[in-house]
Amino acid sequence: MKVLIIEDEKELLDSVVAYLKQEGYICEAASDFETGLEKISLYQYDCIIVDINLPDGSGLNLINHLKNISSETGVIITSVRRSLEDKITGLDIGADDYLTKPFHLSELNARIKSLIRRRSYSGKKEIVLNEITIIPDTFRVFVNNHELALTKMEFDLLMYFIANKDRVLTKESIAEHLSGDNIEMAGSFDYIYTHIKNLRKKILDKGGDDYIETIYKMGYKFKSV
């Protein structure tokens, strides 16, 4: 899986690359428009993550260029908050997803996974993790071949956990994933505990393992082994 990240802020770029590398992606980085353009023209990527506001050009032009040569590549654009215009233009010209900055690395990871899954026509439509099987298209989950009755929130939660399995997820990132960016203003994320508790219980009830580990004060971790 080859991913190109175009982001002008060096430190941020490094963080994204480091996180995604741990996920097993082959990551390439570009910190300006020119390098980005060069890489897009020379190589084939499964997914590119592009910042709209680059110092020497607009990320939107990069997307235009990319769409002219290869429509197979998935595109996620990143941009500062509340620039609805950018979002609409970006999605119009063929971007697949939009992420407001600052974003959680785990959220970006989940978006990439979901994007790649949607785009792979050949690949299987199921996610299997030990005794858990998920069919994302129909929102169905099976544990030991018994179907789980999950709420929308619990399903989203499970998908997020599985996308970031064996990673520590902060409460804030989980809350934002479940309820959107606005929830951040509330400043209180304790409510996710109830949903996590219910999800854990439902998996255990069907004979599944106890996957969800509480990381003291920080958040939660979905252990795959």
Binding site: S15, A18, L105, N182
Partner: protein, 423 residues
């Protein structure tokens, strides 16, 4: 009190004072002139009579010559007490036959012994009623003149002042219309009076300076919030990487957690400040028809998990499908802030009433008494004690409301926080 009224009143008061003082002095002068005139005639008459007595030795009938009362008594013996000549002029009241009443008189009295062992007394009375009448007449004539002069002067002064102060009033009306937020220079009309010209110049310079400072401050806030965003994003991403490290102890996790939480808080604060400065800079130009009902439902959906967690009951009443002409992003921020506010400052198993009317939105929620003036929550960084939020939520609500001339009212009554937004 108006400047013109004040100067006119003062002018009148001082004029009256001067008039009264002047009148008194004038009265005294006329009176002393009259007295000296009367005294003069008294002394002349006395001299004539005395000469008659001393030379002729008898008393002729003076009343024929002088048309007032004269009493002369001649004694053929000297009077002891008159050895030294006695002469005095006094004021007295006497019956006047022509006036047929008691009127003031000047009275001259002389008592004396002659050298040829006789004695005499002279009493001459001159009525001063006519003179006093003259004094009063003159006084009234002057009074009328004085008053008319005063009236003319005051009205002329009023008219002149009004004309002269026109540039001043112009300046004031321009100043009162001046709004620093609008970023338009203060334009003052040309004045042809030096002082007013100076005033206008000083005011223009001052407004330019304030405007410059204001813009600088705004830009500063904007830049600060923009420039801190990236480092904050980096801190958060690095921390996210850090917590993935294997074998982190509980202690380290706790340290990282508090750094992370502070960074998150700072990031929220920063977002709010940057939003406020964007609103201040009119960066939300796009205006659309925003369905208030729809946006409220959407936000309730967003916060559903939070609402469920607190077991809050939502009672929504829509009287009208209200559409607002405003920026859709700002409408979303406005409503989400109001709803978050109602959730956060609510109690467990509380209630939120939302009422959408034709010209207002009312959000009422159960909650603890804020124990302070609710109006302060619209100021930046003002919050109820113990609150963990940076206290910018309602300040943002206020900013957006100001921008679209909505009127926000906040009150706490009978256990309910009531926020009313009048469109």
């Amino acid at each position: 009190m108006k400047l013109l009224t004040k100067t006119t009143a003062l002018y009148l008061a001082f004029s009256l004072l001067v008039f009264i003082a002047g009148g008194l002095v004038f009265y005294q002068i006329i009176k002393s002139i009259v007295y000296s005139k009367v005294n003069e005639s008294l002394i002349t008459e006395k001299r004539i009579i005395e000469q008659q007595i001393l030379h002729a030795g008898y008393i002729p009938d003076f009343t024929l010559y002088f048309e007032h009362q004269i009493e002369v008594i001649l004694y053929n013996y000297p009077k002891m007490e008159w050895n030294t000549r006695y002469e005095a002029i006094t004021d007295t009241m006497m019956f006047d036959s022509t006036e047929n009443r008691i009127v003031p008189h000047r009275h001259l009295v002389v008592k004396n012994n002659t050298r040829n062992n006789r004695s005499y007394s002279i009493n001459i009375f001159i009525s001063t009623i006519d003179y006093q009448q003259v004094v009063v007449d003159i006084f009234f004539a002057l009074l009328i003149m004085f008053i008319s002069l005063l009236l003319v002067l005051v009205s002329v002064n009023y008219w002149i002042s009004k004309k002269v102060w026109v540039p001043f009033y112009n300046t004031i009306s321009r100043l009162s219309l001046y709004d620093i937020q609008k970023n338009q220079p203060l334009e003052l009309p040309q004045a042809n009076v030096r002082e007013f010209r100076k005033l206008n110049t000083v005011l223009t310079q001052m407004s330019q300076k304030i405007q410059k400072d204001f813009i600088n401050l705004k830009e500063f806030t904007e830049h600060v919030s923009h420039e801190t965003q990236t480092p904050l994003a980096i801190i958060k991403s690095k921390l996210e990487l850090l917590i993935q490290t294997e074998n982190l102890g509980k202690e380290q996790m706790q340290l990282i957690q508090s750094v992370y939480e502070s960074a998150a808080k700072l990031s929220r604060l920063n977002n709010s400040l940057s939003l406020i400065s964007k609103i201040d800079n009119y960066q939300f130009e796009k205006i659309e028809d925003v369905d208030l009902n729809l946006i409220t439902e959407k936000n309730l959906q967003t916060f559903q998990a939070l609402i469920n967690h607190k077991e809050i009951e939502i009672i929504m009443e829509v009287n009208e499908n209200k559409c607002l002409q405003m920026n859709p992003d700002l409408a979303d921020i406005l409503i989400s802030n109001l709803i978050i506010n109602a959730i956060i400052h609510n109690i467990q198993k509380g209630k939120i009433f939302i009422n959408i009317g034709s010209d207002n939105l009312l959000i009422k929620n159960t909650g603890n008494d804020p124990a302070c003036d609710p109006e302060i929550f619209f100021d930046r960084f003002k919050k109820a004690r113990g609150s963990d939020s940076p206290g910018l939520g309602l300040s943002i609500v206020n900013k957006i409301s100001d921008l679209y001339h909505f009127h926000v009212k906040y009150s706490y009554t009978e256990g309910y926080h009531v926020l009313c937004l009048d469109f």
